[in-house]
Symmetry: C2
Protein backbone atom coordinates (compact mmCIF):
# COMPACT_ATOMS: atom_id res chain seq x y z
CA UNK A 1 0.00 0.00 0.00
CA UNK A 2 1.30 3.48 -0.94
CA UNK A 3 0.66 6.02 1.77
CA UNK A 4 1.27 9.75 1.36
CA UNK A 5 1.74 11.60 4.65
CA UNK A 6 2.11 15.36 5.05
CA UNK A 7 3.65 16.81 8.22
CA UNK A 8 5.14 19.99 9.67
CA UNK A 9 3.89 23.51 8.97
CA UNK A 10 4.15 25.70 5.87
CA UNK A 11 5.79 29.15 5.82
CA UNK A 12 4.88 32.11 3.64
CA UNK A 13 7.51 34.78 2.99
CA UNK A 14 6.77 38.43 3.82
CA UNK A 15 10.13 39.42 2.36
CA UNK A 16 13.63 37.95 2.18
CA UNK A 17 14.18 38.10 5.95
CA UNK A 18 10.83 37.19 7.53
CA UNK A 19 7.96 34.72 7.07
CA UNK A 20 4.64 33.77 8.57
CA UNK A 21 4.93 30.20 9.80
CA UNK A 22 2.29 27.76 10.98
CA UNK A 23 3.57 26.00 14.07
CA UNK A 24 3.96 22.26 13.86
CA UNK A 25 6.86 20.14 15.03
CA UNK A 26 5.99 17.32 12.61
CA UNK A 27 6.06 14.88 15.54
CA UNK A 28 2.64 13.35 14.88
CA UNK A 29 3.34 12.86 11.15
CA UNK A 30 6.67 11.25 12.02
CA UNK A 31 5.04 8.75 14.38
CA UNK A 32 2.29 7.94 11.88
CA UNK A 33 4.93 7.36 9.18
CA UNK A 34 6.89 5.05 11.48
CA UNK A 35 3.75 3.02 12.25
CA UNK A 36 2.89 2.71 8.56
CA UNK A 37 6.44 1.60 7.71
CA UNK A 38 6.51 -0.92 10.54
CA UNK A 39 3.35 -2.44 9.08
CA UNK A 40 4.79 -2.89 5.61
CA UNK A 41 3.46 0.17 3.81
CA UNK A 42 5.45 2.27 1.35
CA UNK A 43 5.45 5.85 2.59
CA UNK A 44 6.03 9.21 0.92
CA UNK A 45 6.48 11.90 3.56
CA UNK A 46 5.91 15.44 2.33
CA UNK A 47 7.31 17.75 4.99
CA UNK A 48 9.32 20.88 5.81
CA UNK A 49 12.96 21.52 6.62
CA UNK A 50 12.27 22.22 10.30
CA UNK A 51 9.96 19.28 10.96
CA UNK A 52 11.26 16.20 12.78
CA UNK A 53 11.63 13.22 10.48
CA UNK A 54 11.71 9.41 10.78
CA UNK A 55 15.02 7.59 10.45
CA UNK A 56 15.90 6.53 6.88
CA UNK A 57 14.01 3.41 5.74
CA UNK A 58 13.98 1.47 2.47
CA UNK A 59 10.27 2.04 1.98
CA UNK A 60 10.38 5.74 2.90
CA UNK A 61 10.76 8.70 0.52
CA UNK A 62 10.98 12.19 2.02
CA UNK A 63 10.18 15.31 0.01
CA UNK A 64 10.51 18.83 1.30
CA UNK A 65 8.40 21.90 0.58
CA UNK A 66 8.27 25.34 2.20
CA UNK A 67 5.05 27.15 1.25
CA UNK A 68 1.47 26.35 0.30
CA UNK A 69 2.02 26.75 -3.43
CA UNK A 70 4.91 24.27 -3.40
CA UNK A 71 2.73 21.92 -1.37
CA UNK A 72 -0.07 22.19 -3.91
CA UNK A 73 2.27 21.39 -6.81
CA UNK A 74 3.84 18.44 -4.98
CA UNK A 75 0.47 16.99 -3.95
CA UNK A 76 -0.99 17.37 -7.41
CA UNK A 77 1.91 15.27 -8.62
CA UNK A 78 1.90 12.69 -5.79
CA UNK A 79 -1.77 12.17 -4.92
CA UNK A 80 -2.57 10.15 -8.10
CA UNK A 81 0.16 7.60 -7.27
CA UNK A 82 -0.99 6.86 -3.70
CA UNK A 83 -3.75 4.77 -2.12
CA UNK A 84 -4.09 6.74 1.09
CA UNK A 85 -3.40 10.37 2.05
CA UNK A 86 -2.86 11.32 5.68
CA UNK A 87 -2.79 15.10 5.54
CA UNK A 88 -1.49 16.24 8.94
CA UNK A 89 0.46 19.29 7.79
CA UNK A 90 -0.45 22.68 9.24
CA UNK A 91 -1.06 24.63 6.04
CA UNK A 92 -0.99 28.45 5.92
CA UNK A 93 -4.46 29.82 5.22
CA UNK A 94 -3.15 33.12 3.87
CA UNK A 95 -0.07 34.44 2.12
CA UNK A 96 1.32 37.98 2.36
CA UNK A 97 0.84 40.12 -0.74
CA UNK A 98 1.80 43.67 0.27
CA UNK A 99 3.10 45.47 3.33
CA UNK A 100 2.75 49.23 3.73
CA UNK A 101 3.23 51.89 6.37
CA UNK A 102 0.01 52.80 8.20
CA UNK A 103 0.16 56.40 6.90
CA UNK A 104 0.25 55.18 3.30
CA UNK A 105 -2.85 53.08 3.94
CA UNK A 106 -4.66 55.91 5.76
CA UNK A 107 -3.99 58.25 2.84
CA UNK A 108 -5.47 55.88 0.26
CA UNK A 109 -8.86 56.70 -1.19
CA UNK A 110 -9.38 53.14 -2.40
CA UNK A 111 -7.85 50.41 -0.28
CA UNK A 112 -8.49 47.74 -2.88
CA UNK A 113 -5.43 49.17 -4.69
CA UNK A 114 -3.22 47.39 -2.14
CA UNK A 115 -4.54 43.98 -3.11
CA UNK A 116 -2.78 44.25 -6.48
CA UNK A 117 0.46 45.70 -5.20
CA UNK A 118 3.67 43.94 -4.28
CA UNK A 119 6.74 45.16 -2.43
CA UNK A 120 9.72 46.01 -4.59
CA UNK A 121 12.17 46.02 -1.68
CA UNK A 122 13.83 42.74 -0.74
CA UNK A 123 13.72 43.81 2.91
CA UNK A 124 10.73 45.98 3.69
CA UNK A 125 11.68 49.26 5.36
CA UNK A 126 10.88 49.67 9.02
CA UNK A 127 10.48 53.40 9.50
CA UNK A 128 6.77 53.58 10.36
CA UNK A 129 5.33 53.19 13.87
CA UNK A 130 2.62 50.94 12.47
CA UNK A 131 2.58 48.75 9.42
CA UNK A 132 -0.25 47.05 7.57
CA UNK A 133 0.14 43.67 5.90
CA UNK A 134 -2.39 42.60 3.27
CA UNK A 135 -2.85 38.85 2.90
CA UNK A 136 -4.66 36.71 0.35
CA UNK A 137 -6.37 33.42 1.03
CA UNK A 138 -4.51 30.37 -0.20
CA UNK A 139 -6.33 27.67 -2.17
CA UNK A 140 -7.71 24.92 0.09
CA UNK A 141 -5.56 22.01 -1.06
CA UNK A 142 -7.58 19.35 0.77
CA UNK A 143 -10.63 20.24 -1.34
CA UNK A 144 -8.73 19.34 -4.54
CA UNK A 145 -7.48 15.91 -3.48
CA UNK A 146 -10.46 13.95 -4.80
CA UNK A 147 -10.27 15.76 -8.15
CA UNK A 148 -6.66 14.57 -8.51
CA UNK A 149 -7.46 11.01 -7.45
CA UNK A 150 -11.12 10.05 -6.86
CA UNK A 151 -10.04 6.69 -5.41
CA UNK A 152 -7.59 7.93 -2.80
CA UNK A 153 -8.63 7.35 0.79
CA UNK A 154 -8.42 10.79 2.36
CA UNK A 155 -7.70 11.33 6.05
CA UNK A 156 -7.74 14.99 7.02
CA UNK A 157 -6.89 16.90 10.20
CA UNK A 158 -8.67 19.77 11.91
CA UNK A 159 -6.93 21.76 14.63
CA UNK A 160 -8.95 24.25 16.65
CA UNK A 161 -7.96 26.14 19.79
CA UNK A 162 -9.88 26.05 23.04
CA UNK A 163 -13.34 25.22 21.70
CA UNK A 164 -16.12 22.98 23.02
CA UNK A 165 -16.17 19.30 22.11
CA UNK A 166 -19.40 19.97 20.20
CA UNK A 167 -17.84 22.71 18.05
CA UNK A 168 -14.78 20.55 17.37
CA UNK A 169 -16.88 17.56 16.23
CA UNK A 170 -19.26 19.70 14.17
CA UNK A 171 -16.35 21.41 12.40
CA UNK A 172 -14.67 18.07 11.74
CA UNK A 173 -17.84 16.52 10.30
CA UNK A 174 -18.41 19.49 8.04
CA UNK A 175 -14.82 19.16 6.75
CA UNK A 176 -15.38 15.40 6.26
CA UNK A 177 -18.37 15.97 4.03
CA UNK A 178 -17.03 18.98 2.12
CA UNK A 179 -13.73 17.30 1.25
CA UNK A 180 -15.11 13.76 0.77
CA UNK A 181 -12.74 12.53 3.45
CA UNK A 182 -13.00 9.11 5.03
CA UNK A 183 -11.89 10.38 8.41
CA UNK A 184 -11.03 13.70 10.03
CA UNK A 185 -8.70 13.70 13.03
CA UNK A 186 -10.04 16.55 15.15
CA UNK A 187 -7.90 18.01 17.91
CA UNK A 188 -7.74 21.05 20.15
CA UNK A 189 -4.41 22.77 20.79
CA UNK A 190 -5.43 23.23 24.44
CA UNK A 191 -5.35 19.43 24.75
CA UNK A 192 -1.96 18.86 23.20
CA UNK A 193 1.24 18.83 25.23
CA UNK A 194 4.46 16.84 24.96
CA UNK A 195 3.04 13.66 26.48
CA UNK A 196 -0.65 14.09 25.81
CA UNK A 197 -2.49 14.45 22.53
CA UNK A 198 -6.26 14.18 22.79
CA UNK A 199 -8.02 13.66 19.45
CA UNK A 200 -11.26 12.43 17.92
CA UNK A 201 -11.17 10.29 14.77
CA UNK A 202 -14.38 11.45 13.16
CA UNK A 203 -15.97 9.28 10.45
CA UNK A 204 -19.35 9.56 8.76
CA UNK A 205 -21.17 7.86 11.65
CA UNK A 206 -18.39 7.15 14.11
CA UNK A 207 -16.23 8.97 16.62
CA UNK A 208 -13.19 7.24 18.14
CA UNK A 209 -11.18 8.93 20.86
CA UNK A 210 -7.38 8.80 21.12
CA UNK A 211 -5.15 10.11 23.90
CA UNK A 212 -1.57 10.27 22.61
CA UNK A 213 0.29 10.59 19.31
CA UNK A 214 1.07 6.84 19.40
CA UNK A 215 -2.58 6.11 20.10
CA UNK A 216 -3.68 8.28 17.15
CA UNK A 217 -1.15 6.54 14.88
CA UNK A 218 -2.29 3.06 15.96
CA UNK A 219 -5.96 3.83 15.52
CA UNK A 220 -5.34 5.40 12.13
CA UNK A 221 -3.45 2.32 11.00
CA UNK A 222 -6.23 0.10 12.34
CA UNK A 223 -8.71 2.10 10.34
CA UNK A 224 -6.63 1.92 7.17
CA UNK A 225 -6.05 -1.82 7.50
CA UNK A 226 -9.75 -2.51 8.01
CA UNK A 227 -10.40 -0.81 4.69
CA UNK A 228 -12.27 2.13 6.04
CA UNK A 229 -14.36 0.92 8.96
CA UNK A 230 -13.31 1.77 12.48
Amino acid sequence: MNILITSGGTSEKIDQVRSITNHSTGQLGKIIAEHCLANGATVTLLTTEKAVKPAPHEQLTIRMIENTNQLLLAMRELVPAHDVLIHSMAVSDYKPIYMAGFEEVLASSDMTEFLDKSNSQSKISSADDYQVLFLKKNPKIISKVKEWNPNIRLIGFKLLVDVSQEELLTTARSSLIKNQAELIVANDLAEISSGLHHAYLVGQNTVTEAFSKEDIAEKLLDHIQKGGRL
Copy 2:
Protein backbone atom coordinates in the same frame (compact mmCIF):
# COMPACT_ATOMS: atom_id res chain seq x y z
CA MET B 1 35.98 38.53 30.30
CA ASN B 2 32.15 38.12 30.28
CA ILE B 3 30.74 38.14 26.78
CA LEU B 4 27.01 38.23 26.01
CA ILE B 5 26.13 36.91 22.56
CA THR B 6 22.67 36.95 20.98
CA SER B 7 21.85 34.62 18.08
CA GLY B 8 18.96 33.18 16.09
CA GLY B 9 15.81 35.07 15.11
CA THR B 10 12.84 36.22 17.19
CA SER B 11 9.22 35.20 16.49
CA GLU B 12 6.07 37.22 17.13
CA LYS B 13 2.78 35.38 17.53
CA ILE B 14 -0.18 36.31 15.31
CA ASP B 15 -2.35 33.84 17.21
CA GLN B 16 -1.89 30.46 18.89
CA VAL B 17 -1.10 28.65 15.63
CA ARG B 18 1.02 31.07 13.59
CA SER B 19 3.88 33.53 14.04
CA ILE B 20 6.02 35.96 12.09
CA THR B 21 9.60 34.75 12.31
CA ASN B 22 12.85 36.45 11.37
CA HIS B 23 15.05 33.94 9.58
CA SER B 24 18.35 33.13 11.22
CA THR B 25 19.94 29.75 11.72
CA GLY B 26 22.07 31.01 14.64
CA GLN B 27 25.16 29.59 12.89
CA LEU B 28 27.23 32.78 13.06
CA GLY B 29 26.44 33.35 16.76
CA LYS B 30 27.36 29.73 17.48
CA ILE B 31 30.75 30.07 15.79
CA ILE B 32 31.46 33.39 17.54
CA ALA B 33 30.57 31.78 20.89
CA GLU B 34 32.89 28.86 20.19
CA HIS B 35 35.77 31.21 19.34
CA CYS B 36 35.20 33.24 22.50
CA LEU B 37 35.10 30.09 24.66
CA ALA B 38 38.25 28.69 23.03
CA ASN B 39 40.01 31.92 23.99
CA GLY B 40 39.05 31.72 27.64
CA ALA B 41 36.04 34.01 27.79
CA THR B 42 32.90 33.30 29.82
CA VAL B 43 29.94 33.37 27.44
CA THR B 44 26.22 33.88 27.93
CA LEU B 45 24.36 32.94 24.75
CA LEU B 46 20.87 34.38 24.44
CA THR B 47 19.16 32.48 21.65
CA THR B 48 16.00 30.77 20.39
CA GLU B 49 14.75 27.21 20.47
CA LYS B 50 15.32 26.66 16.74
CA ALA B 51 18.81 28.18 16.54
CA VAL B 52 21.86 25.90 16.34
CA LYS B 53 23.86 25.94 19.55
CA PRO B 54 27.46 25.23 20.64
CA ALA B 55 28.24 22.01 22.51
CA PRO B 56 27.97 22.30 26.31
CA HIS B 57 31.01 24.01 27.91
CA GLU B 58 31.86 24.89 31.49
CA GLN B 59 32.11 28.58 30.69
CA LEU B 60 28.92 28.68 28.60
CA THR B 61 25.41 29.56 29.79
CA ILE B 62 22.56 29.34 27.29
CA ARG B 63 19.28 31.21 27.78
CA MET B 64 16.30 30.95 25.48
CA ILE B 65 13.78 33.58 24.44
CA GLU B 66 11.10 33.64 21.75
CA ASN B 67 9.95 37.20 21.06
CA THR B 68 11.30 40.74 21.19
CA ASN B 69 9.72 41.58 24.53
CA GLN B 70 11.31 38.55 26.18
CA LEU B 71 14.62 39.53 24.58
CA LEU B 72 14.32 43.04 25.98
CA LEU B 73 13.64 41.76 29.51
CA ALA B 74 16.51 39.25 29.34
CA MET B 75 18.97 41.81 27.99
CA ARG B 76 18.00 44.44 30.54
CA GLU B 77 18.89 41.87 33.17
CA LEU B 78 22.08 40.52 31.54
CA VAL B 79 23.72 43.57 29.93
CA PRO B 80 24.88 45.13 33.25
CA ALA B 81 26.79 41.95 34.17
CA HIS B 82 28.79 41.68 30.91
CA ASP B 83 31.85 43.39 29.47
CA VAL B 84 31.03 42.86 25.80
CA LEU B 85 27.79 42.40 23.88
CA ILE B 86 27.82 40.77 20.44
CA HIS B 87 24.26 41.29 19.25
CA SER B 88 23.87 39.07 16.19
CA MET B 89 20.23 38.08 16.71
CA ALA B 90 17.72 38.89 13.95
CA VAL B 91 15.15 40.85 15.95
CA SER B 92 11.58 41.35 14.73
CA ASP B 93 10.97 45.01 13.90
CA TYR B 94 7.20 44.72 14.31
CA LYS B 95 4.72 42.67 16.28
CA PRO B 96 1.16 41.80 15.22
CA ILE B 97 -1.57 43.62 17.10
CA TYR B 98 -4.82 42.88 15.24
CA MET B 99 -5.95 40.85 12.25
CA ALA B 100 -9.23 41.57 10.48
CA GLY B 101 -11.06 40.58 7.32
CA PHE B 102 -10.59 43.04 4.46
CA GLU B 103 -14.33 43.85 4.41
CA GLU B 104 -14.24 44.87 8.07
CA VAL B 105 -11.35 47.23 7.36
CA LEU B 106 -13.01 48.66 4.23
CA ALA B 107 -16.17 49.39 6.21
CA SER B 108 -14.35 51.32 8.92
CA SER B 109 -14.68 55.11 8.96
CA ASP B 110 -11.59 55.50 11.14
CA MET B 111 -8.86 52.96 10.63
CA THR B 112 -6.94 54.07 13.70
CA GLU B 113 -9.53 52.08 15.69
CA PHE B 114 -7.72 48.89 14.65
CA LEU B 115 -4.50 49.99 16.35
CA ASP B 116 -6.14 49.57 19.76
CA LYS B 117 -7.92 46.30 19.03
CA SER B 118 -6.83 42.79 19.75
CA ASN B 119 -8.18 39.46 18.53
CA SER B 120 -10.32 37.59 21.02
CA GLN B 121 -10.11 34.29 19.13
CA SER B 122 -7.21 31.96 19.90
CA LYS B 123 -7.15 30.94 16.23
CA ILE B 124 -8.20 33.74 13.93
CA SER B 125 -11.00 32.73 11.56
CA SER B 126 -10.16 32.23 7.92
CA ALA B 127 -13.37 32.98 6.08
CA ASP B 128 -12.37 36.16 4.19
CA ASP B 129 -10.67 36.18 0.79
CA TYR B 130 -8.30 38.87 2.04
CA GLN B 131 -7.13 39.68 5.52
CA VAL B 132 -5.39 42.70 6.96
CA LEU B 133 -2.81 42.45 9.73
CA PHE B 134 -1.94 45.56 11.74
CA LEU B 135 1.54 45.60 13.25
CA LYS B 136 3.24 47.86 15.76
CA LYS B 137 6.90 48.76 15.84
CA ASN B 138 8.92 47.01 18.53
CA PRO B 139 11.29 49.01 20.74
CA LYS B 140 14.83 49.11 19.29
CA ILE B 141 16.65 47.12 21.94
CA ILE B 142 20.14 47.99 20.68
CA SER B 143 19.47 51.67 21.40
CA LYS B 144 18.92 50.89 25.11
CA VAL B 145 22.07 48.88 25.71
CA LYS B 146 24.25 51.82 26.75
CA GLU B 147 21.56 53.06 29.16
CA TRP B 148 21.67 49.68 30.90
CA ASN B 149 25.47 49.55 30.99
CA PRO B 150 27.42 52.61 29.78
CA ASN B 151 30.68 50.63 29.98
CA ILE B 152 29.69 47.62 27.89
CA ARG B 153 31.49 47.27 24.59
CA LEU B 154 28.73 47.02 22.04
CA ILE B 155 29.10 45.13 18.75
CA GLY B 156 26.00 45.35 16.59
CA PHE B 157 24.93 43.73 13.31
CA LYS B 158 23.20 45.18 10.29
CA LEU B 159 21.70 42.91 7.64
CA LEU B 160 20.47 44.43 4.40
CA VAL B 161 19.38 42.68 1.21
CA ASP B 162 20.87 43.32 -2.21
CA VAL B 163 22.10 46.88 -1.70
CA SER B 164 25.24 48.69 -2.85
CA GLN B 165 28.40 48.55 -0.77
CA GLU B 166 28.01 52.29 -0.20
CA GLU B 167 24.49 51.96 1.20
CA LEU B 168 25.54 49.07 3.43
CA LEU B 169 28.49 50.99 4.90
CA THR B 170 26.50 54.20 5.33
CA THR B 171 23.70 52.36 7.12
CA ALA B 172 26.21 50.57 9.36
CA ARG B 173 28.01 53.78 10.29
CA SER B 174 24.75 55.52 11.10
CA SER B 175 23.79 52.59 13.38
CA LEU B 176 27.27 52.75 14.98
CA ILE B 177 26.84 56.39 15.94
CA LYS B 178 23.18 56.22 16.96
CA ASN B 179 23.68 53.23 19.25
CA GLN B 180 27.16 54.19 20.54
CA ALA B 181 28.49 50.88 19.24
CA GLU B 182 32.17 50.10 18.97
CA LEU B 183 31.68 48.08 15.81
CA ILE B 184 28.86 47.18 13.44
CA VAL B 185 29.14 43.98 11.40
CA ALA B 186 27.44 44.89 8.13
CA ASN B 187 26.36 42.15 5.75
CA ASP B 188 24.13 41.65 2.74
CA LEU B 189 21.91 38.57 2.50
CA ALA B 190 22.78 38.32 -1.20
CA GLU B 191 26.38 37.61 -0.14
CA ILE B 192 25.62 34.91 2.41
CA SER B 193 25.46 31.24 1.50
CA SER B 194 26.44 28.07 3.35
CA GLY B 195 30.17 28.42 2.70
CA LEU B 196 30.48 32.14 2.10
CA HIS B 197 29.65 35.04 4.40
CA HIS B 198 30.89 38.39 3.21
CA ALA B 199 30.86 41.12 5.88
CA TYR B 200 32.35 44.48 6.76
CA LEU B 201 33.39 45.19 10.36
CA VAL B 202 32.65 48.88 10.50
CA GLY B 203 34.27 50.99 13.22
CA GLN B 204 34.38 54.77 13.70
CA ASN B 205 37.23 55.21 11.21
CA THR B 206 37.90 51.68 10.03
CA VAL B 207 36.40 49.05 7.74
CA THR B 208 37.69 45.48 7.86
CA GLU B 209 36.43 42.90 5.39
CA ALA B 210 35.67 39.27 6.28
CA PHE B 211 34.73 36.43 3.96
CA SER B 212 33.31 33.57 6.05
CA LYS B 213 31.62 33.03 9.42
CA GLU B 214 34.92 31.76 10.86
CA ASP B 215 36.72 34.80 9.48
CA ILE B 216 34.12 37.13 11.04
CA ALA B 217 34.46 35.34 14.40
CA GLU B 218 38.26 35.54 14.33
CA LYS B 219 38.34 39.21 13.42
CA LEU B 220 35.74 40.02 16.07
CA LEU B 221 37.81 38.23 18.70
CA ASP B 222 40.94 40.03 17.50
CA HIS B 223 39.12 43.30 17.88
CA ILE B 224 37.87 42.45 21.38
CA GLN B 225 41.30 41.27 22.56
CA LYS B 226 42.97 44.43 21.31
CA GLY B 227 40.63 46.41 23.51
CA GLY B 228 38.74 48.10 20.76
CA ARG B 229 41.21 48.89 17.96
CA LEU B 230 41.18 46.81 14.81
